[in-house]
Amino acid sequence: MGNWIVNHGLDTFILVVWMGINIFLFVHFYLFYDLGPQFFYTRQLLGSALAWARAPAAVLNFNCMLILLPVCRNLLSLIRGSFVCCGRTMRKQLDKNLSFHKLVAYMIALMTAVHTVAHLLNVEWFINSRHGRYGFLAGNLSALEDDEDDHETFLNPVQSDSTTPTIFAFTTIAGLTGVVITLALILIITSSMEVIRRSYFEVFWYTHHLFIVFFAGLVFHGYGRIVRSQVTTDPPHNTTFCKDQPENWGKIPECPIPQFAGGFPQTWMWVIGPMVIYLCERLLRFVRYLQTVRYKKIVMHPSKVLELQLLKSGFKMDVGQYVFLNCPEISELEWHPFTMTSAPEEDFFTVHIRSAGDWTDRLIKMRRHVLVLSSPSECWGMGVDGPFGTASEDVFDYEVSMLVGAGIGVTPFASILKSIWYKFKDSNPKLRTRKIYFYWLCRETHAFEWFADLLQVLEKEMEERGMRDFLIYKLYLTGWDHTHAAQVMVNFDKDTDVITGLKQKTHYGRPNWDKEFEQVRHENPSSVVGTFLCGPPALATDLERRCVKYSDVDPRKTKFYFNKENF
């Protein structure tokens, strides 16, 4: 139980607070509209469907405000920077921004459904009241019109006897904007399904921009002021007494004609802040796109991996961060994320781009023929947005780190390992790491030979300093077959590994995590161990579970904290 609190406590707390606010808003506004005396006459026409429509509207206001915030990358980086004092648990929460964005989106979808159904009924009942099907009082209320001479104001927005719900929906601001934004929402949701997102990112990305339509419509949705409440008149209109004699309104002093006014549209007050923040985000991205980026070196590695060493004035990165790259020659609008593989101590930044789709293929094809650059050259414009922070900035804070990179997830660790080594050489006090366990899982090493080279260099330097125990790395080849086995058998006695040329031998198959965690716990009995993963979600749940299992709330024993990178 204690382990669970250590690893999931803050998550659950935030979820509980968020859900609590949602429930509070729903119940508060439901009761406000269902019991409020100013809506007594409105309820005569609509019953409790009014409250059922307004309560989700309040929840929608709150969630539409929240939804833009988790995707403001620069804002999150700013918050993360200012939380340096507040401990790593707070900063870890910012990793889960996308999960929160999706959760808020689901809530918006659910509340939209409730809101729409309630309003469907409302429109129908407004029209029925107008036709006198709900009794004398309702009929009289519906007959009220906006008339200055008679000092009348309307209650029922349906003013014509021949209107139908469909006509009403498409001729009022609320109805029209409602249909349009619900449609935009549905298109956004269907193109954001995991299947579409993973396979055809462009469809997801371009359709998601319908959120502009969504927010525009949302802001104007309440401008028709259709929901009317009773205002106090002078002399006051005594509802309890007057409700039974609508024919006497305006004729007896206790019952002047009741006056109504539309509710002031409030949605813009909720969403204007985040909209401005998001606009600033996009402007910042545009400004960065305009800044010149120069090429220092272009290297073509085997298995179609392109390494770009880039220079940009004023660019400061932290370890394990990623940037978004844009190549206007390929596509003006597409920005793709790449983790940087250089350390902050170097004066340039590097990305390794693997062939993984249309955009990367074209980039590699365009750049592969240029291999020698005499000086940093500026041609072939490239836009760079970033850097954006991820969990790996925390890696120096742990005495012991377990770094797990699966497949292409090994990329951020190139940056981390290089930086750790630079910091160690400079005896940088910021580095609290004393020991690193690095696990590299991949099917085959072809696409990552550049990483094996990096490990070789580090291995050599560590041996020169007599620091063999500083970095313990284990490579797991999960895609081995009988030819591999034959090779290994033949070269068993050699000092270096036959596949990678590294001193530590390659393991075959998947790691036995229980054994690994036991080993780490045994070798570091009272340390705080940070586990960092960049890899598939299944592995993340596995490691997270093990971190919880092997952690001990007792401060004298080993504690494992789990951090996941995600894009």
Binding site: T166, A169, I186, T190, S199
Partner: protein, 186 residues
């Protein structure tokens, strides 16, 4: 945009539309709204569209992600042959089904969403896509080949028991070891 199989998105959109059509229809019938007959049609059409769209198609390239329990639906949809595998037919069918929804507010959203799904399916059809069932991979039949050897019919040849017995005068050449020492018959 990249190489996209439009049918995948059309499928998600159509499934969502089916649900929305169905919900709108239920509201229309349960609330006894005017024009509830269109709502009743909406319920039927929504259910039909959901059943038709539930099984995902096999992709031309890439991994297939099946929906839970879609196999029985795949079998039913496959049975209709070209009526269901051709996307022009589907586009036209969805367009036709969505029209009655436009007559009533409760189902108008279902109508428009289904209309959009129909357009995306049209795009898929123009790009030459068609629906293919995802069938479970059948195990190759374990054929009994000649290499399977029959078990031996006879025991291995060895000398008779009399000769195999350990002799006291010649302990070393015996084929087995006794737990107790062997002594000659006195």
């Amino acid at each position: 945009m990249g190489k996209i199989e439009w049918a995948m998105w059309a499928n998600e959109q159509a499934l969502a539309s089916g649900l929305i059509y169905l919900t709108g229809g239920i509201v229309g019938v349960a609330g006894q709204l005017k024009g509830w007959e269109y709502a009743a049609f909406g319920i039927a059409a929504g259910v039909f569209v959901c059943l038709l769209e539930y099984p995902r198609s096999k992709r031309a390239k890439g991994t297939n992600y099946e929906r839970t329990g879609q196999y029985c639906f795949t079998v039913c949809v496959k049975a209709f042959g070209p009526l269901t595998s051709n996307y022009y037919v589907r586009a036209f069918l969805h367009a036709a089904l969505c029209v009655p929804g436009g007559f009533m507010l409760a189902t108008v959203l279902g109508c428009v969403c289904l209309g959009m799904a129909s357009l995306i399916y049209l795009s898929a059809a123009i790009h030459g896509e068609h629906w293919q069932p995802i069938m479970p991979k059948s195990e190759p039949a374990k054929s009994v080949t000649q290499s399977i050897k029959h078990p031996p019919q006879n025991p291995p040849p060895r000398p008779p028991a009399e000769m195999r017995r350990k002799r006291a005068e010649d302990l070393e050449s015996a084929a087995y070891v006794n737990p107790l020492p062997v002594t000659a018959n006195e």
